[in-house]
């Protein structure tokens, strides 16, 4: 099937079927299961990043006007670390884990063996198109799977580069990239996968999960949500402000799933907070942030229109206290702060995913928990405070994928913490060993011997056997003796 317009074969259901068939055959050879193969692939990925960093940075700049530092650090360096961690620990992760056995199955030994799930699909997002494509793949490779990657078409330069680099550096008989948009994704989703990891939004996540249901394919969904930041009054305001700015506008200009979405603070404190923001924002991005090279642009005109709509809503447009300038042609919106937005405004109910920061006011800081819990569970929640009790209450009452106290977003870089959502912000987790686990089946193995065959298991069933079974389950040696002697209740 060829499209006359593009002169490129269209990737349809048949193509997807063939692709999966090919990968299943590769997986069946056992190639991806070997430690050497996994190691070679991960090392090749590190090499790819070392050799092609300028091209990657350029593609990210094309797609998102992402500042070089953000690309180098949040996409490339983080991914390199992920690879290195997997290379260092993979042997250990691959080893079976011993499991305890009890009197009930004596004599026996048990272990849990990690095995690859098979052929997995990774669907990535546009905002960190490099990281969200390859980071899951690190886990999938470490766990020994064959992989198809579907990068986001909304970041086309990165998608194209990924297709080229994966073909050049990795084993194309086992790891493939399929570029494209809705039709290609739909064709892929019709196939049977052994696992799907999807990063993106809730609407598409439902479609992915429904497609997975047809084949009973387990899924990991890395979604988003409105990540709130509670700001208490007795803090180091400057540090807090800077950390919020770094997490908001410093992360792809607010277009990140864990970016602070909105702030909750006390009525009396708001002005001080906003003044601090104004000051630090100018220090970071200058007097004309529209011209700052340290801010990503809005990814495309659809999202620009979406964000403009949020700002133009009647009850909200008058609440802008900083920024609000837009450059439609260059898809730029300056860091914008809104004060005292109504709870029922669009901007307080939809995930913003952009450079707008509403500040919602409460009378006392404890009221912020109800505000957060009245919405869907976010991917992350942040709290700035020095009060121990408030921290404890925050941790106990706020349900989110992850929490950070006195900082924002940095937990992403912590490989010992599972990164994932709950409720509407997703299911499953990855990073570090959690990535390996996400793409593994943990097979339980029980080794039994022939000695000490417990006759109580077998018919004919008698009252005596019932008594003995009771004792065996209770794990009481005395009970067993009594039962054997016929002294216990049957």
């Amino acid at each position: 099937m060829t499209s006359e317009v593009e002169n490129k074969p269209v990737f349809c259901t048949e193509s997807a079927k063939e692709l999966v068939k090919e990968l299943r055959a590769s997986f069946a050879t056992g190639k991806t299961k070997s430690y050497e193969w996994r190691l070679t692939q991960l090392n090749a990925m590190v090499k790819m990043m070392e050799e092609k960093e300028p091209q990657i940075v350029a593609a990210l700049h094309d797609d998102l006007s992402k500042p070089e530092l953000e690309s180098s650090i949040y996409e490339i360096a983080m991914l390199k670390n992920s690879c290195r961690l997997a290379v260092k620990n993979m042997k250990h992760w691959m080893m079976p884990e011993k499991a305890k056995t009890s009197l009930v199955t004596f004599p026996s030994s048990a272990e849990i063996v990690s095995e690859p799930l098979g052929v997995v699909l990774v669907i990535s997002a546009w905002n960190y198109p490099f990281l969200f494509s390859l980071d899951p793949i690190v886990g999938a490779i470490a766990a020994g799977n064959a992989i198809v990657l579907k990068p986001s078409e909304i970041a086309p330069a990165t998608s194209l580069l990924l297709a080229r680099l994966v073909a050049e550096y990795l084993d194309s008989s086992c790891i493939k990239v399929v570029e494209g948009a809705v039709p290609e994704t739909a064709a892929l989703l019709e196939q049977k996968w052994d696992k799907i990891l999807y990063t993106g939004n809730g609407r598409v996540a439902r479609i992915v999960m429904a497609a997975a249901a047809k084949h009973l394919t387990p899924v990991v969904m890395e979604l988003g949500g409105k990540c709130p930041v509670i700001v208490d009054s007795d803090i180091n305001l400057q540090v807090a402000t800077r950390r919020i700015i770094a997490g908001k506008w410093g992360c792809n200009n607010g277009q990140a799933c864990i970016s602070p979405d909105y702030i909750i603070t006390m009525k009396d404190y708001a002005q001080k907070l906003i003044d601090s923001f104004k000051y630090e924002l100018e220090r970071f991005y200058g007097k004309n942030p529209l011209e700052s090279k340290d801010l990503s642009r809005i990814v495309n005109s659809n999202h620009f229109a979406r964000l403009s709509k949020l700002l133009d809503e009647d009850k909200v447009s008058s609440k802008i206290v900083h920024g609000g300038e837009r450059d439609k042609e260059n898809l730029k919106i300056t860091p914008t702060i809104l004060l005292d937005v109504p709870r029922d405004s669009l901007i307080m109910n939809e995930e913003i995913f952009g450079p707008l920061l509403p500040v919602f006011l409460v009378d006392k800081v404890e009221d912020s928990f109800d505000v957060i819990n009245s919405g869907t569970k976010p991917l992350a929640a942040y709290l700035f405070t020095n009060k121990k009790k408030l921290k404890e209450k925050f941790v106990a009452t706020v349900s989110a994928g992850g929490l950070v106290i006195n900082d924002t977003t940095v937990h992403l870089a912590e490989p010992t913490l599972p990164f994932g959502g709950v409720g509407d912000s997703g299911m499953g987790a990855y990073h570090g060993k959690f990535s390996f686990d996400a793409f593994s089946h943990k097979k339980a193995v029980l080794y039994r011997g022939f000695a000490c065959d417990a006759f109580v298991r077998y018919p004919p069933y008698t009252r005596g056997k019932l008594g003995l079974l009771r004792a065996l389950f209770d794990g009481s040696i005395l009970g067993i003796i009594r039962a054997l002697l016929g002294w216990s209740k049957a």
Binding site: E115, A213, S399, I405, K443, L446
Partner: protein, 479 residues
């Protein structure tokens, strides 16, 4: 029904199920429920499935008591946050992972182990601090009546509810939003459950089934081992609810030359365990209902299949009894060899060489368990690395179900997710990451405007190259 669920949500929201003391009290109450009502439970299981008290204790009452006791002894440990290592770069910082209840969970259980499959997941859901709606299968009516009447007498009615009903109730429940759905049953319905869950992005655990094979490679060892093998095979086929179990042995794989010896041993063992013929059958459950009975009888209707019967085959429609039946090499494309049997029919497939069993098993979808009776260590390793199943049990059947330290769940068509022991607690929890940071020291290079120095600094920081960082700072200070 919507009102009940709203009450569950309210109870959860008000924190009614969060405290360890609430969870402990509910678990203790559940233990009391079981201890004080054993006879009623035995009676209900006998009524619905013809289970003997020994089978009921072994597979349901005993399992549940063990599960509750184990959970109670470990609960405080499980609930405690786990520390996570933090690199020096983040100093001072503290990282931990804290389990949190998911919220309001829905548990669907199956009819073959109506108590275990309902209450074992319930134990997990309670221990993790959730509110629960339990929807048992309507094919075990006496057991359901018992649960509906008795659970409210012992457990917190505002947090744990049972609803009786058929598929229509199940469908209605699936339209609503849950924080987790735990389903035990068939792959067909598993798909429907997951598709419904997808609308609300509800995570699911699916405990399904499959054709669990038993590879038999121990007949040429000592006679006593051969005898034990036969007992464990018979016990693993007809013992659990007369083959109507997701982990029952579905079919056997054995070398041609050993087939007749195996069949003889099995016949002897069956007669000893269950009686000489269908008229004197004892210590064995019956088929649950007419529908399942007809389904099983139909599997034997194919003349080629009927011809392969070497033992048993008699049925009693009135009593819903099918005697233990052994078939030797039925056609591989027959329904009995492609569908999960879930009943007292045991096909034996012969192979020239026992190693062929690996390819045979891999030609079918991943089962919940693979049983292998063998003492060949190399063969064991091959089975482990070249096949995929939820669990592998060597030299026995069924007992892996009793191991609280082993995850119990499937892979591929046999399901995903797992439970038992701590895995039950985990399956109903969200593991929340928490990072505590201090305000000092501040790392200036985190913030724009970006410069080459800051880029280099952060690069070194990400590589945890502390030495490089110090050098950089010194060089910077100097220049």
């Amino acid at each position: 029904m919507e009102k009940s669920i709203a009450e569950l949500r309210e109870t959860f929201k008000n924190g009614g199920t969060k405290s360890i003391s609430w969870r402990q009290s509910q678990l203790k109450a559940l233990l009391q429920l079981i201890n004080q009502n054993e006879d009623s439970i035995f009676k209900a299981l006998d009524q619905d499935l013809g289970k003997s008290p020994v089978e009921s204790y072994r597979d349901e009452v005993g399992v549940l008591k063990k599960s509750v006791t184990y959970t109670l002894s470990c609960l405080e440990k499980w609930v405690a946050p786990k520390k996570a290592e933090v690199p020096l770069l983040f100093f001072p910082a503290k990282a931990e992972v804290m389990p949190q209840p998911l919220g309001v969970v829905l548990i669907f259980s199956s009819w073959n182990f109506p108590f275990t499959l309902a209450l074992d997941p319930l134990i997990g859901a309670i221990s993790a601090g959730n509110t629960v709606l339990l929807k048992p299968s309507d094919l075990a009516p006496a057991c359901i009546s018992f649960l509906v009447e008795t659970i409210p007498k012992y457990l917190d009615n505002k947090a744990i509810k049972v609803v009786a009903g058929g598929a229509d109730i199940g469908e209605r429940l699936l339209q609503l939003k849950w924080d987790k759905i735990f389903y035990t049953g068939s792959p067909r319905v598993g798909r429907l459950v997951m598709a419904a869950a997808a609308k609300h992005l509800t995570p699911v655990t699916l405990e399904l089934g499959g054709k669990c094979p038993a590879i038999v490679d121990t007949l040429s060892t000592t006679p006593s081992k051969a005898k034990v093998t036969a007992k464990r095979i018979v016990g693993g086929k007809w013992g659990p609810c007369n083959g109507q179990a997701c982990i029952a042995i579905d079919y056997l794989l054995v070398e041609e030359k050993l087939a007749s010896a195996l069949i003889e041993l099995l016949k002897k063992t069956i007669k000893r365990f269950y009686g000489e013929n269908i008229k004197s059958l004892k210590s064995i459950s019956r088929i649950v209902n007419e529908h399942q009975f007809q389904r099983l009888v139909n599997l034997l209707k194919d003349p080629n299949v009927a011809d392969s019967i070497v033992y048993g085959g008699s049925v009693d429609e009135e009593k819903l009894v099918i005697e233990p039946t052994i078939l030797l090499d039925p056609p591989l494309d027959s329904e009995i060899m492609s569908e999960e049997i879930f009943g007292p029919l045991l096909p034996i497939i012969t192979l020239k060489n026992i190693e062929e069993s690996i390819n045979f098993i891999n030609s079918k979808s991943n089962p919940l368990v693979i049983y292998a009776f063998t003492e060949d260590e190399t063969f064991k390793k091959r089975i482990l690395s070249e096949t995929s199943s939820g669990t592998v049990t060597f030299n026995d059947s069924m007992v892996q179900f009793l191991c609280d330290s082993l995850p119990f769940g499937g892979v591929g068509q046999s399901g995903f997710g797992r439970y038992h022991g701590k895995y039950s607690f985990d399956t109903f929890s969200h593991e929340k990451s928490i990072l505590h940071r201090g305000f000092y020291p501040e790392i200036e290079p985190r913030y724009p405007p970006w410069t080459d120095f800051k880029l280099l600094f952060i690069k070194l920081a990400y590589e945890f190259d502390y030495f490089g960082l110090i050098l950089l700072l010194l060089w910077f200070k100097r220049s």
